[in-house]
């Protein structure tokens, strides 16, 4: 495969994209293969405007005279230029011609022509059309802006002459485990794959990074926190040959490991602590899912179980509470409680989101594209999309009792008494109440099947479906679900909750009857009773719907325009589901983690790689489809995927394999010899400097200043920020948490979807309404202002300064060195400490001349502190090196 290529060939699909291509269409990005000096000059000029040192990979050269490959060379051209009209999408297909299958592209069309006659260029209509001078004939039509370049035509020419062989898209073929090539000096399999490729390109790997940077890198990567000075010292002074392995072992066993990797997965789940939409009600138990993730990572739950729990934990026979809690993954969709549209429309939107999130997370495919039409590029039909949708269409939102430690015993002890008193309380009116409630339930059910007959009842039904469990984060349709469950089948809890709702929210036409029964007084007493009952904390989960919903595809994605009926099923381009049982979510999850599934392991492995190397082996970690990038190291990706499955899907083992590699342990310093040939570092001849996430930057500042509260898990907290931030949402309030809760790790920060915590947003927290597979890493003036001036960071600076003065001897030089080491782990160079000394003296002079300013800066606290040291500490927390992992 790639390793056997002619060493001259440095082209990597997806990378020859010339960024300054003047042609308008982004579709053309991948096509510019030919060295074009004028473009290169242009590019360089523009580059130097932006920033020098950034070099383009321009002109990677046509590939000699060797054979053209469908996957590598032809498919990208067809996908970008032809498939829109001649691809999978039957609705948009022109002239009955599809070019994505050999059977179709070589058959005789109605016109009598044949698009491709293998081996016979002149007879191939495709060739005639793409080379035609007649603008009525030319393909692609000039107005599409998708014109082919001469090089692309040349590739198609050679391909047809070679007999137009097709290959299946690489990502749909199950991974094959290759033997890592033998490379002198490379021991770990990862390094053998990487170095073999580098050797073929005649590139030397970078030297190992120094030990200080190494422990900082691996600690930040595995735990999201910088190492302490003690940890750095211990490692530097550990002469044992396996000292690094020991550090890795310690980090994988730390509690912070689970916190760091839970946040990684929360991006995929698009977690939030509120409903979204206008009113953005709270979800006070959303954190239970986050906690489940932290625990899963810390206990190293194998990825197959991890997957099954999140997609179908509730369907596992005799499922435990924890297994059910995994389905909290599917509960991060937005909930509209405002109304104005059909309940069914809201429900459908949620199912669509679940289908898309599922597709992105596990398949790495953009299945959502097939919601409205057959996928234009990937072999997923609209029908297949709705077959996936059908799995989730039969699942309903339902919170479960998931008692925290100690809750259950107290509750269990008190519950019989509660039930007894409740019955007693209601006894005088039970009969009448029950009759009223039964009538109400029947009217609700009738209204659902006969909408628009009675406005008031329409509204009653709507409110039940919108407001059930509001501000409790309960599933909206659960109340309706209980009504649909026959009374004898309802649990005591369901009965009581429905009754509670009825008593409080019965329609006004029942008002007089309820008044006769003195219900308001009953409610007061019931409230008191409920308050006295020890609580059981609930958790978001999914359950199999009591209703059977037929599944149809939606014509043009419109849920009111039902098309063909479909059954749950998986895309035919992937291996079929095995087994005889029902095609439900559990079967879907089992199918995902079956050994021959071509996507699941590759997609997940790639995302872990992305976290540790700054980019995935497949750069488009969200898209393994035809239009995604091809892997830079396909054999390595496959080796890792299979190795992972064979090792029992252990996250920790896999991460350990990666961080122990020499490829991971290389220096990340840029190299001028690579700048022009591999600016994106796809060949991995070095490590990559990565700006930390907003959470990690905050956590690091808190950690080095000694403020960090390391409590593991629990409900979300609200650090301080100006009240104006939450005013950007409709009814949002931001009451800052008190005391040490202000200094919890960033992943515990409450996510109010319509006005999320500003510091995290500024540092690229992804939009919480969609699944995100890779965060942006921008670099903006607002980030600078945040780190320079945010009172949270100034608070950290004050505390760091106090710590420096407390721990370091009294002269300036030693304080500077100590502060630097606390923040950056390494010792400063003489140049750095000299500059800082000058700076400290400068600030000292400023504050000496303005003691009032110093007093304000010190915030009237922390006696014995001097302004210049706060300003010194603040510089440390703003350093590029502080916010990056090198």
């Amino acid at each position: 495969m790639e390793g056997r290529q002619n060493p001259r060939q440095k082209n990597m699909p997806g990378e020859g994209q010339t960024l300054f291509e003047t042609k308008p269409s982004p579709m053309n990005m991948r096509d510019q293969l030919k060295p074009d000096r004028s473009r290169e000059r242009n590019a360089r000029r523009l580059c130097s405007v932006v920033v020098a040192g950034f070099m383009l990979l321009v002109g990677t050269g046509l590939r000699g005279q060797d054979s053209v490959r469908y996957q590598r060379d032809v498919l990208p051209i067809l996908a970008d230029h032809c498939f829109v009209c001649h691809g999978v999408d039957s609705a948009k297909r022109q002239a009955e011609l599809r070019l994505d299958e050999r059977g179709s592209s070589t058959k005789t069309l109605e016109s009598g022509q044949q698009a491709i006659v293998p081996g016979d260029l002149k007879s191939s209509a495709l060739w005639q059309r793409i080379t035609s001078d007649d603008s009525n004939q030319t393909m692609p039509p000039p107005e599409t802006g998708r014109a082919l370049s001469p090089d692309q035509r040349e590739i198609l020419r050679r391909w047809i002459e070679q007999g137009a062989p097709y290959e299946k898209h690489w990502a749909y073929i199950p991974p094959q485990k290759a033997v890592p090539p033998l490379v002198t000096g490379a021991e770990y399999p990862i390094d053998r794959f990487v170095r073999a490729r580098l050797a073929a390109e005649r590139i030397q790997p970078s030297p190992p990074v120094d030990r200080t940077t190494l422990i900082r890198r691996v600690t930040l990567d595995l735990t999201g926190l910088p190492p302490t000075l003690l940890e750095v010292d211990a490692f530097l002074n550990d002469p044992r040959p396996d000292s690094y392995e020991r550090v890795v072992h310690r980090l994988l066993g730390s509690e912070q490991f689970g916190e760091r990797w839970a946040r990684w997965w929360l991006d995929l789940a698009h977690y939030g602590d509120s409903d979204g939409y206008l009113q953005d009600f709270l979800r006070p138990v959303a954190w239970r899912y986050r906690q489940w993730l932290i625990d899963a990572f810390n206990t190293d739950m194998p990825f197959d179980q991890f997957t099954i729990s999140q997609i179908a934990g509730d369907l596992i026979p005799n499922a435990t509470i924890s297994q059910k809690m995994g389905t909290g993954f599917l509960r991060n969709t937005l909930s509209n409680r405002e109304g104005g549209a059909d309940l069914e429309e809201f429900r459908v939107n949620q199912v669509l989101d679940r289908t898309m999130t599922f597709g992105t997370t596990w398949l790495g495919l953009t299945v959502g594209c097939a919601q409205c039409h057959d996928h234009k590029f990937d072999a997923i039909t609209q029908r297949e999309y709705f077959q996936l949708y059908a799995f989730f269409n039969s699942a309903d939102e339902a919170n479960i009792d998931a008692p925290l430690a100690g809750e259950h015993a107290a509750w269990e002890a008190a519950k019989p008494d509660y039930d007894c008193k409740r019955t007693e309380l209601l006894a005088p009116v039970t009969g009448q109440l029950q009759a009223l409630q039964t009538e109400w339930e029947q009217r609700i059910l009738y209204t659902e099947s006969h909408p628009s007959e009675d406005f008031a009842w329409d509204r009653t039904l709507e409110l039940l479906g919108l407001q059930w469990g509001q501000n409790l984060g309960e599933g909206q349709l659960e109340g309706l679900g209980i009504i649909k469950t026959s009374p004898s089948q309802r649990t005591t809890d369901q009965q009581q909750r429905l009754q509670d709702y009825f008593l409080r929210s019965a329609p006004s036409e029942y008002a007089s009857k309820l008044k006769e029964l003195n219900v308001s007084e009953l409610i007061t007493k019931l409230d008191a009773l409920t308050k006295a009952l020890p609580p059981i904390t609930r958790a978001p989960a999914m359950t199999k719907s009591p209703a059977t919903r037929p599944n149809h595809l939606f014509v043009r994605g419109d849920y009111l325009n039902l098309g063909e009926q479909v059954n749950p099923g998986t895309p035919s381009v992937l291996p079929p589901m095995q087994g005889e049982g029902e095609a439900d979510r559990l079967a879907l999850a089992n199918w995902l983690v079956s050994r021959n599934h071509p996507l699941t392991a590759r997609v997940a492995v790639n995302r872990l790689w992305q976290e540790l190397f700054g980019r995935g082996l497949v750069a488009t970690s969200e898209n393994f489809g035809v239009r995604g990038d091809r892997p830079s190291h396909p054999e390595l990706l496959d080796w890792l995927a299979i190795e992972w499955m064979e090792q029992g899907w252990s996250f920790k083992t896999l991460l350990r394999t990666m961080v122990l590699s020499e490829t991971y342990r290389q220096s990340s310093a840029s190299r001028s010899d690579l700048a022009s040939i591999d600016p994106w570092n796809r060949l991995l001849a070095r490590q990559t400097r990565i700006r930390l996430s907003g959470e990690a930057i905050r956590d690091s500042a808190l950690a080095v200043s000694g403020l960090l509260n390391r409590t593991l898990g629990g409900p979300s907290v609200k650090p301080q920020q100006p009240a104006s931030v939450s005013k950007e949402g409709y009814a949002n309030q931001w009451e800052p948490s008190q005391g040490a809760d202000r200094h919890r790790r960033g992943l515990y920060t409450f996510i109010q979807r319509t006005s999320p915590f500003a510091q995290l947003v500024t540092f690229d927290l992804p939009d919480t309404s969609r699944s995100c597979t890779r965060r942006e890493r921008t670099n903006t003036p607002l980030q600078a202002l945040n780190l320079l001036n945010d009172p949270n960071f100034m608070d950290a600076a004050r505390n760091l300064a106090a710590r420096i003065l407390r721990e370091a001897p009294t002269n300036d030089e030693q304080r500077i060195v100590h502060g630097w080491m606390l923040a950056i782990s390494r010792t400063p160079t003489p140049e750095e400490s000299g500059r800082l000394l000058r700076y400290v003296q400068q600030q000292r002079a400023i504050f000496l001349s303005d003691p009032a300013a110093a007093k304000t800066l010190l915030n009237d606290g922390l006696s014995g502190l001097d302004g210049e040291w706060v300003m010194f500490a603040s510089v440390l927390l703003n350093l590029d090196e502080f916010v990056c992992r090198e």
Partner: protein
């Protein structure tokens, strides 16, 4: 080691400002890049988008329906009620004629309501679209559609699209600024999502500019840090970052240094923007800065002018709320009192400074209101419900026709009868005026090339000043 640009190089190229930084990031995000085309000739350089949050009543402001007066209080024709579902559960059965008087204004004779006398004076500079429509009847989805081209959350705002497409021409301010005001009811709707960058990098997010001591979040130095001290901090940081850059060769550090410099310039520029002492008393009173109801929105309008003067690409004013389900007479009059004079002053001021030709001003809500009275339980029946089928929007400057009314609705302002303009068409037209082809400004996310106008939208030539340069 690489040759790296010095700080002076950076500053000398300051005209690229955030644009350069942003561009740098586009370049860094390989695999998702589109270089927007400017094959269309640009008529406008910047946009002031006055978003009237909540959906104002077109029937009381822009679209007179004299025939309704005689039918006031009568049942609405049945075919219309059938076409309508209440958004919030009110009853919509009887016709509510507007009690507002309308009359023609200016040479164009554009008929406008007594509620907006100042805006009406500018009729000859406005292009009023009476045939707007969309299919979203709730605030969030309709606001998202208007701003992001999709009713779903997660898309970038039109301001993000514009700054992504054109960059910023301002070296000391972000290219996309947001100013908010309200009538005491707070912001209503999709919140910051309407100026969020969605799946685009945060660099394209609208930056909320607060009309306060700290106009941009964390703009002010920490207490006790004076100018000199802040400058010393930045100088030290820059030197230290430069040392690190020399060691690592990471060009991203140059971008970080530049972003700190930009932050510092913003610290000076933002207070300067807010400092109206150089504005004449006449200008200040024209915007209504001296009287209470107009002060907040007037300040924002004056700021908007000052921002576009300084090259800010997209200024987004959000005024909330026009969501008048009840107490319509009083509340709409109140909102008009707050916004009418300043909006008119903005047009007048831009015009007299010669800025109106290159600045596109858009005044829009997410939908209109029903011709039927909305009756809610326990509430005095004086309100109108959401109505996406037909509503009005006006634009001025930047290449749109002057004194022109485009499109029309039926006798109830219920349905569009002539020249319908969908929200996507409005977006396509706005981009067109900025020299952007809405079909070619794309951003690749999750394997798909997204557009502001999704898969729809057409440029509405009938609203544009004809131009020979259109032939290409």
């Amino acid at each position: 080691m690489f040759e790296l640009p010095s700080r002076r190089d950076w500053l000398a190229r300051g005209s690229y400002g955030l644009g350069a930084i942003a561009l740098w990031h586009i370049l860094c995000q390989e695999g998702r890049t589109s270089i927007p085309t400017t094959s269309v000739k640009a008529r406008a350089k910047s946009v002031i988008f006055l978003f009237m949050m909540g959906g104002q009543s077109h029937l009381d402001l822009f679209d007179p329906k004299p025939k309704m007066a005689a039918l006031n209080g009568q049942p609405i024709p049945e075919h219309l009620t059938k076409a309508k579902k209440s958004a919030t559960g009110g009853v919509l059965e009887t016709i509510q004629a507007s009690p507002r008087s309308f009359r023609p204004y200016g040479q164009s004779g554009m008929e406008l309501s007594e509620l907006i006398p100042h805006t009406a004076e500018m009729a000859d500079d406005m292009c009023l679209i009476r045939s707007m429509h969309c299919e979203q009847s709730n605030h969030d989805p309709a606001q998202l559609l208007l701003h992001c081209g999709t009713p779903q959350f997660g898309g970038p705002s039109i301001g993000s699209w514009v700054t992504y497409g054109l960059g910023s021409a301002c070296h000391d301010m972000p290219g996309y600024l947001v100013l908010t005001s309200d009538d005491g009811h707070g912001l209503e709707g999709a919140g910051s999502s309407i100026w969020g960058s969605g799946f685009m990098p945060a660099a394209y997010r609208g930056v909320t500019f607060r009309n306060a001591r700290e106009s941009v979040l964390y703009l002010a130095n920490p207490g006790g840090v004076n100018f000199e001290s802040q400058r010393a901090r930045l100088d030290a940081l820059e030197d230290l970052n430069r040392f690190r850059q020399a060691t690592t060769g990471d060009p991203e550090i140059a971008a970080r240094i530049a972003s700190y410099e930009m932050a510092f310039r913003m610290q000076t520029a933002a207070p300067e923007l807010l400092d109206f002492s150089q504005e004449t008393a006449h200008t200040q009173s024209m915007y209504g800065l001296n009287s209470e109801p107009t002060r907040a929105f007037g300040t924002n309008c004056l700021l908007a002018r000052r921002m576009v003067e300084r090259g800010v690409r997209f200024v987004h004013l959000v005024h909330s709320t026009w969501d008048h389900h009840s107490d319509l007479s009083k509340r709409i009059a109140n909102n008009c009192k707050m916004t009418d004079q300043p909006a008119a002053a903005l047009l007048k001021d831009l015009k007299q400074r010669g800025l109106l030709d290159e600045t596109l001003v858009v005044w829009a809500g997410e939908f209109g209101r029903t011709p039927m009275a909305e009756v809610r339980r326990g509430v005095q029946p004086d309100g109108r419900d959401h109505h996406p089928n037909a509503f009005s929007v006006w634009m001025a400057g930047g290449g749109v026709k002057r004194g022109h009314v485009y499109g029309a609705t039926d006798d109830f302002g219920f349905q569009v009868t002539e020249n319908p303009v969908h929200v996507h068409d409005l977006q396509a037209t706005i981009l067109h005026l900025l020299g952007i082809d809405h079909e070619r400004l794309t951003y690749r996310h999750a394997g798909r090339d997204y557009r502001l106008t999704d898969v729809a939208g057409r440029v509405v030539e009938g609203m544009l000043v004809p131009s020979e340069s259109q032939s290409q």
